[in-house]
């Protein structure tokens, strides 16, 4: 690889550095040799850390992780053999089973590797089945993680859990679901573990393996549950309606997004319910109606993004006759962008350069069909806001069933002893 400062790659750049560095191109084609010639599988050995006593050994272990850049800047829990063995109680799979290869580094995450990441993130055994399913979904071809892991666009995975497992592991579907919540710690731990895997196994170290200009969703990605108990009558969960899983099954649905927008959607309270409903959907559409080159890849088979609406809002809309399908159609129609606007922004060239089979339409819809829009009922049961997570560089949406171990009930009972009664 011949590396240059980014200036060479900007519009109308000075190309003289190519001549200055021509020898490096020639070297790369003729004299360069790889540092390793080994072929086969290599698992790094476990590491002995020592100290005068337990406390010092732990401190020395933490220093080791810091110096090797295996941490994320926040305090971590040392993944000792004992701790990891505890986490591994969350699955009946062999620790040696390969879950998948994470790019760009190409490291292979085994079940044990996931348990290590979850241990570091402060996780518990009952989170492991969800983490395994989430990573499997993230590594599926529909998500194309190898493209967005390294890109300059700040993309992160979103994992939405359906089924009874969500409540059992205390995954948040309500107030503060994207933020820290000591009452519902599962999402932060699983998301942080996923981020540690992306970095340590996949090589996504900022400025080195990933060029994400602003970084992903902080430290924990976005892992939460749909508020299934709050679904209006006749509305199906995301895993059923969007991904065709049987109702009641434990599933993780994954996509990749690059932005998160909080939308104040309510009226002043002086309008009729019907007026507020339609006005609020227009407000939401105004946020969704934006040019996103990174979502061209998902134009036909994927989603332009994930819209979170609370149970309060969903039930209000449903009482007025709005179904999910009707909402999607309304949003699709009201997010179309005139061609003249696309051309003023240079976007029409991106569309022409892409592989889209659709010709330019006027006005241009943000996605090829209304059913591509993903609507999830989640968030605090409050009427004021909706949340839009715009997709990026992710051709599709993936889902994987969550496999629970035989001792599942025992794990949930242990969690209740450790964490207290369910919130």
């Amino acid at each position: 690889m011949v590396i240059f400062p980014v200036d060479l790659f900007l519009v109308d750049s000075d190309l003289y550095p190519l001549k200055q560095n021509l020898g490096r191109f020639v070297n790369g084609l003729t004299r360069w040799q790889s540092k390793t010639r080994m072929v086969g599988i290599r698992k790094p050995p476990n590491i002995r850390v020592e100290g005068e006593d337990y406390k010092e050994a732990v401190i020395n272990g933490e220093k080791l992780f810091v110096k090797n850049l295996w941490w994320d800047g926040l305090p971590l829990v040392l993944p000792t053999e004992e701790r990891v063995a505890w986490i591994l109680k969350g699955t009946d799979s062999s620790p040696l089973n390969h879950v998948g290869r994470i790019m760009p580094r190409g490291g292979i995450a085994t079940v044990e590797t996931l348990a290590v990441a979850l241990a570091m993130a402060g996780g518990r055994p009952e989170y492991l089945p969800v983490l395994i399913a989430a990573l499997q979904a993230m590594l599926s071809p529909e998500i194309r993680h190898e493209k967005w892991q390294a890109t300059s666009c700040s993309i992160y995975p979103v994992a939405i859990v359906n089924g009874p497992v969500a409540k059992q592991i205390r995954l948040n579907a309500g107030f503060g679901l994207l933020g820290p919540d000591p009452q519902h710690p599962a999402g932060g731990c699983i998301g942080r573990a996923l981020r540690l895997l992306q970095q340590n196994v996949g090589g996504a170290l900022p400025g080195v393996g990933t060029m994400a200009m602003f970084g992903g969703m902080r430290y924990t990605n976005a892992v939460f549950a749909e508020d299934e108990e709050g679904l209006p009558a006749g509305w199906e969960p995301l895993s059923v309606e969007y991904m065709r899983h049987p109702k009641g099954s434990n599933v993780v649905v994954v996509s990749a997004v690059s932005s998160a927008t909080n939308i104040l959607r309510r009226g002043t309270g002086k309008e009729t319910l019907e007026e507020e409903a339609e006005n609020s959907l227009r407000v939401i559409a105004s946020y969704m109606r934006s040019l996103n080159v990174n979502s061209l890849v998902s134009y036909e088979q994927g989603t332009p993004g994930i819209l979170l609406i609370s149970s309060t809002i969903a039930n209000q809309l449903a009482s007025l006759g709005w179904t999910k399908e009707k909402i999607k159609l309304f949003l699709w129609e009201n997010t179309r962008i005139p061609l003249s606007e696309l051309e003023r922004m240079g976007f029409s060239r991106w569309i022409q350069q892409s592989n889209l089979t659709h010709t330019l339409q006027d006005p241009w819809p943000i996605t090829s069909q209304p059913t591509n829009i993903a609507i999830v009922v989640a968030g605090g049961r409050h009427p004021t806001h909706a949340y839009w997570m715009q997709s990026a560089m992710c051709p599709g949406v993936a889902s994987v069933g969550i496999k629970l171990p035989a001792r599942w009930d025992e794990l949930i009972k242990e969690a209740e002893e450790d964490l207290g009664p369910m919130p």
């Binding site: 790659f9 021509l22 360069w32 790094p44 337990y54 993944p79 060029m211």
Partner: protein
């Protein structure tokens, strides 16, 4: 002395093959260009081509325009087969930023 065993968090590495051997020289060789059509590749490739030809007059360079272009398009078995069919012995892939 107290000791703890901790597990390396970086996963397992599998190398299925070594990197391709390098060429002894570029004289008389055929090089293919593969472009993701991003980051001024339409300017850097012609410039690089000209510079290489100045130093290696007998090198044959197949321009990127004769292969599929784009991030997804160049990352395909079809493109790899095309490169082999055209007799290229080396490939220059660009650009990423």
């Amino acid at each position: 002395m107290y000791s703890l065993m901790v597990i390396n968090p970086t996963g397992t590495i599998e190398t299925t093959r070594s990197h391709a051997p390098r060429l002894d020289t570029l004289e008389g060789k055929t090089i293919a260009e593969l472009s993701d059509d991003q980051w001024q590749a339409h300017r850097t490739f012609p410039q690089l081509r000209q510079l290489l030809r100045e130093i290696f007059p007998t090198v044959r360079i197949i321009p990127y325009t004769e292969f599929p272009m784009g991030t997804a398009q160049i990352d395909s078995e079809y493109t790899a087969d095309l490169i082999k069919e055209r007799g290229a012995q080396a490939v220059i892939v660009g650009n990423a930023a």
